[in-house]
Symmetry: C2
Subunit: 467 residues, 2 copies
C-alpha cells in the first residue's frame, strides 16, 4: 500500500488501523468501485478499509466525520442497485473480514454473527446445529449477511419463509458519529419502544454501519417435492399460480419463467422443457403432506390449461425440476454469448400484487418489442415479485439507451399495476429517482428527515436510496 505520509485521511486512519487493513492500490480501489448493478454511476474511493473489530469501525467513522469524508459500507458487492458503489474520495468500508459467527443458540433458536459472514456459510453453520436460516437470495453462496440485512434481501423460499427482515431480531450499529447503538433484542417477542431494528434493515448503509446481528432461526426444512408445469402463455401460468394461492396452499417455492426464459433453459438442455410452451411454473412444497400438496397443486395447473405437468415425488426428480430454476442465469449467459456484441445482463426487480403478475409479464413482453431488446422474465410468482433480465450490447450506444428506457418502462409498469419499484434488490443509486415517484411527497420528506436525524453531515453512503 501507499504509505499514509502526506495524506491526512490515511494518516488518521492508520492511527488505529493496521497497515493490512488499509488498501490504496489502484487495482484495489478500482475493484471496489462497483457492485453488480450495470448503468450505475460510481466514484473512485480514496481508500478501502477492512476493519476486523467494532472499535476499528468506530475509528473509521470518527475520522471520516472529522475530515468530512464519505463512507460507503460494502459487503460482497453482489447488490443489483448500485447501493454499494463508491463515491469520489470516499472510504470504502469493506466488512468482509468481520465474518465471525459468534454464537449459535439452539435453545433460543438464534444466531449472533458479524456482518461479513457469507450467507451460505451461516446457513451451513446453523444446519450443523440442526437449525435453519431460510432466506436464500440468488447470490447466497457469495453475498454477506450484512449486505442481506442492509438491502432487505429476499429469495426463492420467502413465499413460505419470509424475507431477511423477518429474521432480524437485533442489530448492533455504529452510527455516523462513531457511537455504538444496540437495537432490538434477544427475545422472540418485544415491543419496548419504537422499532428501530426495522429502520436499519433495508437502509443500505445510509443510516449506520451494521457490525453485529442477532437472527432468528427455524427448525430444519423438510425435504421438498416439486412439480414443473408448462403453459401456452404467462397468463395461463399466472392463473395457475393464482389458483394455488387462492386454494390455500403455501408452497416453499412458486416460480414463473416466461417464454424467453423457458426457451433459454430448454436450449441449455433441460429435459423437462424440451418442446415446452410459452411459460413455465415451478412449484415446490416442503410441508409434512408434501406429496398430497404437490399432487393437488398439479391438478390446479391442469385445470388452468397446463400443456404438461411433471410431478417429482422423489429426490432425484425433484432436483431435476428445481434445476430448471437454477439454470436460468447460466441459460441467459449462454444466450448472451450467442448474441453478437458485448452482451450485458441487467436484472430488474419489481413487485406487484400477486394477481397482477401475468399483466406485468405481458407488459414486459410488449416492452421488449417496443425497445427491440431481448428480455427474459423469471420471478417469484407467489410474491408477485418479477425479475425481467435485459440482455443488451454495452458497446452499442443505441442498445444501452434502449435498455435504460426499457428499464424505466418496466418500473413504470410496476407502479401502474399497484406495485413497487423494488421487491428485494433495494433502491441504491439506480432507483432513487423512482423512489421519489413511488412515495408520496410527505413520505419522501419523512424519509429525508430520518436520514438527516441519523446522518446530519450526509457522510454515510451519500446519494443512495434518497437523491
Amino acid at each position: 500500500m501507499t504509505p499514509p505520509v502526506g495524506n491526512p485521511l490515511l494518516a488518521a486512519l492508520a492511527e488505529a488501523l493496521p497497515p493490512e487493513a488499509l488498501g490504496t492500490a489502484d487495482v484495489e480501489l478500482a475493484l471496489h468501485r462497483y457492485d453488480a448493478a450495470p448503468f450505475s454511476e460510481a466514484g473512485r474511493p480514496a481508500v478501502v478499509v477492512r476493519p476486523e473489530t467494532v472499535e476499528q469501525v468506530r475509528h473509521v467513522l470518527r475520522v471520516a466525520r472529522a475530515l468530512g469524508v464519505p463512507v460507503v459500507p460494502q459487503g460482497a458487492r453482489t447488490g443489483l442497485a448500485g447501493g454499494a458503489n463508491a463515491v469520489d474520495g470516499c472510504v470504502v468500508l469493506s466488512m468482509v473480514r468481520m465474518n465471525r459467527i459468534l454464537e449459535i443458540d439452539r435453545a433460543n433458536r438464534l444466531v449472533r454473527c458479524e456482518p461479513g459472514v457469507i450467507t451460505a456459510d451461516l446457513a451451513a453453520a446453523v444446519a450443523g446445529e440442526g437449525l435453519c436460516y431460510p432466506p436464500d437470495p440468488a447470490s447466497w453462496e457469495t453475498c454477506t449477511i450484512g449486505g442481506n440485512i442492509a438491502t432487505g434481501a429476499g429469495g426463492l423460499c420467502c413465499v413460505k419463509y419470509g424475507v431477511t427482515a423477518d429474521y432480524v431480531l437485533g442489530l448492533t450499529v455504529v452510527l455516523a458519529d462513531g457511537e455504538v447503538l444496540r437495537v432490538g433484542r434477544d427475545t422472540v417477542k418485544g415491543v419496548a419502544g419504537y422499532d428501530l431494528t426495522r429502520l436499519f434493515v433495508g437502509s443500505e448503509g445510509t443510516l449506520g454501519v451494521i457490525v453485529e446481528a442477532t437472527l432468528a432461526l427455524r427448525p430444519p426444512r423438510p425435504p421438498e417435492l416439486a412439480l414443473l408445469a408448462s403453459f401456452a402463455s404467462a397468463r395461463d401460468a399466472g392463473a395457475a399460480a393464482g389458483a394455488i394461492i387462492r386454494e390455500g396452499h403455501v408452497p416453499s417455492a412458486l416460480e414463473l419463467m416466461d417464454r424467453a426464459t423457458t426457451e433459454a433453459v430448454a436450449a441449455l438442455g433441460h429435459p423437462l422443457l424440451a418442446g415446452a410452451g410459452g411459460a413455465t411454473l415451478i412449484v415446490a412444497s416442503d410441508a409434512p403432506d408434501a406429496a398430497a400438496r404437490v399432487r393437488a397443486m398439479a391438478e390446479l395447473c391442469r385445470e388452468a390449461k397446463a400443456l404438461s405437468v411433471a410431478v417429482a415425488e422423489d429426490d432425484e426428480r425433484c432436483r431435476q425440476v428445481l434445476d430448471a430454476r437454477r439454470m436460468v442465469m447460466p441459460a441467459l449467459g449462454a444466450v448472451a454469448k450467442g448474441l453478437p456484441g458485448a452482451m450485458t445482463a441487467f436484472v430488474e426487480d419489481v413487485a406487484v400484487p400477486r394477481d397482477r403478475l401475468a399483466d406485468l409479464v405481458e407488459r414486459v413482453e410488449e416492452i421488449a418489442g417496443e425497445y427491440d431488446l431481448y428480455i427474459a422474465t423469471v420471478g417469484h410468482a407467489g410474491d408477485g415479485n418479477l425479475h425481467p433480465t435485459v440482455l443488451f450490447d454495452r458497446a452499442d450506444r443505441s442498445a444501452v439507451r434502449r435498455a435504460r428506457e426499457a428499464y424505466d418502462a418496466i418500473m413504470a409498469a410496476g407502479l401502474e399495476l399497484g406495485g413497487t419499484i423494488t421487491g428485494e434488490h433495494g433502491v441504491g443509486v439506480l432507483k432513487r429517482e423512482w423512489l421519489a415517484r413511488e412515495l408520496p411527497p410527505r413520505g419522501l420528506r419523512l424519509q429525508r428527515d430520518i436520514k438527516r436525524l441519523l446522518d446530519p453531515d450526509g457522510l454515510l453512503n451519500p446519494g443512495k436510496v434518497l437523491a
Copy 2:
C-alpha cells in the same frame, strides 16, 4: 352534549364534526379516562371525539395543533399499560366508529380495514372468505385492530404465526400536522425506502393516528390437536418446553401455567387438572401431521419427568385441553372473589430468552413470597413471554405498595435474565421509566428524536412510551 358556545376547542371541533361525534357528558369523559391498566395515572379529557372519516380525524388534529391541545387516540381501551389513558384537557380520539372492513382480497390474501374494527370481527369476516387473520390477543373479542397495531399486540398462536406486526403491510396515518401519510404497500414484498410502517406499529399513538391498515392474511388454520402435561415444578415444565423447541417442533400454542394458576384452574373444576402438580404445559399443533407431532411432544414431556400427560386426539378432548388455558382469567377471578378485600388483578408482561423461562417463573414465585402477594403466572412458553398476574386489595395501602414493588421486581428480573420489559402489552405510562432502563442512552435519545421529528409540539398521546 354541552353546547360548544364559549369553549374554543369545542367550537373549532364542531366546525367539521357533527354534534353526535362530540361527547362532553361527565360520564362519558370519566369512561374514557382509563384503559385496562391498574396503577396508571390518567387525566380528565376535555372532549371525546368519535370521527367517522379520515377528513374528520384530520380536522381534529389540525384543531388540536392550532390550540395546543393534546390528542389521545383510543380503541377499545383493553390495553394493559395505560397507553390509551387520557391526559388533562385532551381530546380523546376514539376510533371505534371507523370500523369498516373495506376490502377482503382473496387473490392477494390481504384485507384493508379501518382501525376500529374489532379483531374478532375481522377474523370472522376473513374466515368467511376462506382466509385467516391469525393474531389472537387475549382481548380479541373486544379489542380493535387499530389498538392491536398501535401496541404491537401478540397472542397465543404467535409462537407459530407471529405477532400483529408481522401482518401489517401498509398503513394510512394522519400525522400531527393533519397531513395524511400512506406507508408500506399492497405487495407481499417491497424494500422501497426506509421501513416507516414498522415505525408506526407499536408506537402507541405517539407518532400519528392510524386511520387505515392493509393486513396480510393466511390460508385457514387446520384443526388443532393438543396435549396437557402436569409437572412437579415450573423447572420441569420449562425443560419440556425447551425440549419441544430444541427438537424442531413448531407448536401452534405452547403455554405454561405455574403452580398458582394450575391450582386456580383445578379449583374451578377442570377435570384434567384434578390433583395436578406444580406446573402445567398446554401444547397444540395444527400441522398436517398434528397427530404424530402431538404424540412426539407428549413423549418429550414424559422424558422431562411429566407427572401425567393427556393427549387429545379428537376435537372434543382437544377443546377440553385448550379450555384449561381459557379458564385462567375466570379462575383467577374466582380466586380474587374468595380473598378478603377489594381484589384487583394486575397482569404483567415480560419476555425472556426461551431458555430462561423457568428462571423467571421461579423468580416470580420468590417475589410473591418476598412481597406477601398472590401471584399466578401463565405465559407463552414458546416465546419466553410470561404474564404474572398479581392479585391485591386495592383498598389496602400496604398491598397496593407491595403490588407496585413486586411489579418493579418482576421487570427487573426480566431484564436481569436478558429479557425485555414488555413482550406484547406495550410501554404506555406504566413502563416508561423502565423503558429508559432497558434501552441504552443512545437508543433512548434516538427514540426521543424520532418522536420530536413526527410530533414537534408533543401533542400526540403525550407522556406515553417516552417519559
